[in-house]
Subunit: 358 residues, 3 copies
């Protein structure tokens, strides 16, 4: 190896499309022991107010050992680990699907992540390809804490390199009710609606119902960079004003997961009792978000499921949309041609667990 | 109920003046288990350097189990809970009085808050009214951690709705020495002045003395938003650049409590041994503060009280003023007509506990 | 004492050159119990990804009780305490040398700091002088956690005051291998390279090798102010836009230690297994850094040392340079005349401990 190559080999330039192989398993670096410091920062960066994640006594009354981490915080910590191995050379983060939350995560737990390549398809322009991975986040006992599929468009190192046989995974439209394993951890028989902040229980919602979450929250550069750094997410687009000076006036792209968390925090006003996310059925970042943008959000109830054998808890399938610099009282959505209103930045389809009325 | 009304009912639009009833008790949402993460963020957001709140061994030597939360952090966490129920439609946060700190708060404690409506008076223009509430913050054992009165001007939903009989609570000018229950927790017999950062004990101060705290600190949007989010304070004026674009150029109003905390942190330089706030006698936000403003502060010693039966500790009644973009070496204050210097943003009258010399 | 003098005496205006005496010991204020909140903030403010400081199980496998604090976080917390006593009137922070890390610091430990004046030399213009201090940071058991020399240029109160006999300490070029006491804490026999994020062990590096750390990170005002506040560093230049409006357009000077931490976090990409800093041989801030600057970094391996009797661990002496708004693929450095490229803001010479291959 030449001296230049040896030097270059010390730093990680990220994988290109050719570097992914079907079935390959990637062990991601930097195990992370989560702490109450991470939880406090998550609240400070998002304003989340869900009682289950804020209070140990409230959580114990719901069957948890103590207040568990916000599900999206768990997701971001696991996701962050995958970036150096999967999306450092990504052109676009295309979507999420089939995400299932498992064991609750508590301060003191240590998270690791492993991904498996489950889909590869070169684009027709031969400049890039679509990579599907299934990522599993685990705690120190090897239990799954979150398991999800995401797919990204990754640049090729060399346009001339041969294309692999195209493989696209078969993904369910949503995580079915019998796979909501987060259910087993909780008991809502003694759930306190007054402390949770809303009288609206599972029965209060109907499929097709739409909820404007009213409030707006502006994003600052320092906030989204601290969030991405907290998750040890290394994607360059979030941090480097100098490199983005030419095409974005120095504005850095906000980590899409931070947008998810802000939309989720806004959704407290209307869905305060949706305290636990059990699944991420699908999600995509429709438009980029930048510092200075103000996010608003609204939600649509897609479905309401009873849980067999459980009278304390029910599931709602919810679709939350986040819009920038546009209040959502009139529920901005797709037009007749299937194109999103240009204000929309996020569409997230997920399943929440809520207490039932008595 | 119409479909629109049903949908609207899911989100909380906040109470209007007509929604408050004398004697009514409001149980506020989102109990909060405080952690060392909250404490670290409070230091990062304010720069506070008081030894009692920074060091477990120092705190144990003063009779505490470990380093207690900064008193104002406790205040903000309790205050934050009350915003959705009391001040979401507030035109102005008019003042505080009769605030008394109780049991020390430690990481691991869980805070809840309850408020009682103790005053109601419609304004003569019939567009709004003054609401007085007494709020009690409690720990998981039901002990009071802070108890205070605040009053706000709240919009009416309908100008034509009838006015309640006017009731204004009778508020003492200050919390008397016999009500300083925070005293019982502490023992300053072994207080270490070198580690605390100042040789100036209770006897060093005289009523009428004025102290310029010298330093200035600039506020950034990200900082005051993170502070308000940390306290789960939902007041819209702090977070929404888009809604404020018209009248404030997108600048968000800084949470007044953050100004209190910054002034208190600045006061370390001159009052380093005022390690414990026992009471908030009164306070008001004289002018709004915005990101980009630089705060300075000065204090006046209003009174010096011995504590009966205690030779280790004395009380000082202090009035601290914060000014924006104006150093305070000449102690900017009210003019002869009783009007504050236009730089003044905060006037806070509080009682601190200090070690006595031997 | 006049009334004005008495008032002025309450606030600390900082020491001037005349106030330092050779051999004098300064006990610094505000002992600090470090917590997992401090650790989370450090990650959020720097993006550090070293496995040893991120994961309790990883750290236990390396012989630690749990994940220790990042060495530079320990350094900043100790350094911050010294500012009010040493550098409040400093014209410039000139350099560091002979820094040695000792006992690992864990959340729950309490740090204090003491400095001794070891050098004094008046400048020829008689307006200022150079003060050398040796600072020792200790934990609650009195064990040294870090011990280093720094020197600053401090203004004189009165140009006419007499000059002390000039004394400059004799400082070694670097901390010799036999003084790397941080070694005793660790055992790299079971070090997991996959989780650490790089296959490059001690043997992979050669003296003279240069590594571009590739990534860039932009600094925001809120971030560097939160960092300096977290370290309870009171240097005015970091916080006051109003006072700096005239000469720097309101931009505040970034705490040089924050630049060190960002460069160290960037160095993960190329030096991921350099998980423990054992010594700071020397360092200086070559140019000021301001909010809006984007930092890049590169490193040169100065030397590679075996550790007598140890086959699990070796030492590398590394020189890391940070540049602003300039990628480092071509290793910007001093020119033939010994002048740094104008982009360079930091030169740091330090010794790291790395696992050896088997």
């Amino acid at each position: 190896m030449s001296r230049a190559a040896k030097i270059a080999a010390k730093t990680d330039a990220g994988r290109f499309f050719e570097d992914f192989h079907l079935g390959e398993e990637l062990v991601h670096a930097t195990p992370r022991t989560v702490t109450s410091g991470d939880v406090a920062l998550y609240i400070a960066l998002t304003g989340s107010r869900f009682a289950l994640q804020s209070s140990d006594p409230f959580a114990r009354a719901c069957g948890f050992e103590r207040a568990p981490l916000d599900d999206l915080l768990t997701f971001h910590l696991v996701f962050g680990k995958t970036v150096p191995d999967i999306s450092l050379n990504a052109v676009a983060n295309l979507g999420y699907a089939d995400g299932c939350f498992g064991a609750p995560v508590y301060p003191g737990d240590t998270l690791t992540a492993v991904s498996r390549v489950i889909g590869l398809r070169e684009n027709s322009n031969r400049k890039s390809g679509i990579v599907h991975v299934r990522t599993q986040g685990r705690n120190q006992r090897g239990e799954s804490v979150v398991d999800y599929v995401r797919w990204v468009m990754v640049r090729k190192r060399d346009e001339a390199s041969p294309a692999p046989a195209p493989v696209a995974p078969d993904l369910a439209d949503h995580v079915s009710a019998d796979r909501l394993i987060a259910l087993s951890a909780l008991d809502f028989a003694h759930y306190d609606l007054a402390l949770a902040g809303s009288p609206h229980v599972w029965e209060s919602y109907a499929a097709g119902e739409r909820i404007d979450h009213v409030d707006g929250v502006t994003i600052e550069e320092a906030e989204h960079m601290m969030a991405a750094h907290l998750y040890q997410n290394t994607a360059r687009v979030h941090f480097n004003r100098h490199a983005q000076a030419a095409d974005r006036g120095g504005r850095r792209l906000v980590y899409g997961g931070h947008v998810m968390s802000l939309a989720r925090a806004l959704s407290f006003n209307g869905l305060a009792n949706a305290v636990k996310i059990a699944a991420i059925n699908g999600g995509r970042h429709v438009n980029p978000t930048f510092a200075g943008d103000t996010l608003y959000a609204w939600s649509e109830i897609l479905a309401r499921w009873e849980i067999p054998g459980r009278c304390d808890v029910g599931a709602l399938r919810v679709r939350t949309l986040a819009a920038k610099d546009r209040p959502c009282a009139d529920f901005p959505d797709k037009d007749a041609g299937g194109n999103f209103d240009p204000s929309i930045v996020l569409e997230l389809d997920y399943t929440v667990l809520m207490p039932r009325g008595t």
